[in-house]
């Protein structure tokens, strides 16, 4: 089915089979920041924004985003780089495979929550797994980035 989607503020026409999930469609069209980690809706690596809300693109049917807005990390590069600096300074980045989905969730959290506590941050990011570095470094980076140390 042909769908019209605004991706990173650019209108695009995409072709997707009825049973294809957004992650696969986005990757086919070159949005390679969208990673396939678990493919079972558990790891958070495929996180993109759908109308501004973070969703698992492995679990959203592509045909259902017809007429809607998608944001991938390619669309928020400046902000992502700013946060990435905090991550690197805290040693919270290693293989980097989970970073795009993780950063998209952090930036969504920044928009949704004001002055989050440590508990709020952990709750918001529970759905983002990282197998390299552990979560303490990420938490330090987020607190410094949000200025809620």
């Amino acid at each position: 089915m042909q769908i019209k989607v605004t991706i990173n503020e650019k209108m695009m026409e995409l072709e997707a089979p009825y049973d294809e999930f957004l992650m696969d469609t986005l990757r086919r069209y070159g949005f390679l920041s969208v990673k396939k980690g678990c493919n079972t809706g558990s790891c958070g690596l495929c996180t993109v924004w759908l109308d501004g809300k973070p969703v698992l693109s492995c679990s959203v049917l592509s045909v259902r985003v017809n007429g809607r807005n998608i944001t991938t990390i390619e669309g928020v590069q400046k902000e992502a780089r700013e946060f990435a600096d905090f991550l690197v300074k805290e040693g919270a980045d290693q293989c980097g495979f989970c970073s795009p989905g993780f950063i998209m969730t952090v930036l969504a959290m920044k928009r949704e929550l004001s002055n989050p506590t440590e508990e709020d941050i952990i709750h918001y990011l529970t759905g983002n797994l990282c197998r390299c570095t552990g979560y303490q470094g990420q938490l330090r980076a987020i607190k410094k980035y949000l200025g809620v140390v």
Binding site: V55, L56, S59, L61, T126
Partner: protein, 265 residues
């Protein structure tokens, strides 16, 4: 692998129902969070997106929640935080992550009668009803226990009672499915003890609830009520936990939840 042959976005419930019942493998789409893990071969996938079923509304007697409302909407709803000690937001907040809760829907979970559901357990303790397009309004308890013809779940209806309620669950790790969950509610002398993810679908422990209602609520009474609940409900084993383990954990969760309800203001 799961496949879809055709896809429609109906403009009315009548049309959706007609397509649903036209062929055996035509299926309503919820959020697709769980559907995708299976191997269903769907004929026509029916998307209810355009039917304005994403709502949480308050009326004099009831709160109504539309089938396409997401778990994240339940979790963050100021209205639901203010009722039943925030039972519903509490029940859904530990399900996987924010990104999945932004997708999965009330209708998808309740209509599928998932055994692992945290939401169904909580809704049972509130004596919720479901409105089905064809069948009409039935109690959730009735809906869960009786197999029915294909239908469309339109909304969940929750009576606006003065119930105090608590939800508890046990998970092997945060964000995993619950290995057992419980919800306990109290309105005056009326108690409801519910347990789900046993791993069978949630059920009200009637004998235990009744016993508690007629007891003096001493610690021995609470212990006995929890024991009654374990013996009247069936538990099973799967990869997450054994039957014995579930029974043991469920008893503790029930006792704690009863205590928490008693402490509720």
């Amino acid at each position: 692998m799961f496949t879809i042959q055709d896809y429609v976005v109906p403009g009315t419930l009548e049309e959706a129902y007609r397509i649903l019942t036209a062929k055996r493998n035509n299926t309503i789409l919820g959020g697709c969070g769980f559907l995708r893990l299976g191997s269903q071969r769907i004929g026509t996938a029916i998307d209810l997106t355009n039917l304005n079923l994403n709502f949480i509304e308050e009326y004099d007697q009831v709160i109504e929640i539309g089938a396409m409302t997401t778990f994240r909407d339940l979790e963050t709803s100021p209205l639901l935080k203010g009722y039943f000690n925030g039972l519903l937001p509490q029940a859904v907040k530990h399900i996987v992550g924010v990104q999945l809760r932004n997708i999965v829907t009330v209708g998808g979970t309740v209509y599928s009668r998932y055994g692992f559901s945290d939401l169904i357990t909580a809704l049972l303790s509130l004596e919720a009803e479901v409105e089905l397009f064809k069948t009409g309004r039935v109690s959730l308890e009735n809906f869960l226990e009786n197999a029915s013809e294909k239908d469309i779940l339109v909304k969940v209806i929750i009576p606006k009672t003065a119930k105090k309620a608590v939800f508890n669950s046990m998970r092997n790790s945060q964000s995993d499915y619950a290995i057992v969950n419980v919800a306990v509610s109290k309105e005056g002398d009326r108690w409801l003890l519910v347990a789900g993810a046993r791993p069978h679908r949630a059920k009200i422990a009637r004998k235990a609830s009744l016993f508690l209602a007629n007891s003096s609520l001493s610690s021995e009474d609470i212990e006995h009520a929890a024991n009654l609940a374990i013996s009247e409900l069936t538990f099973g084993s799967n990869m997450r936990a054994s039957q014995k383990y579930r029974e043991t954990v469920c008893k503790v969760l029930l006792k704690r939840a009863i205590g928490e309800v008693l402490a509720c203001k």
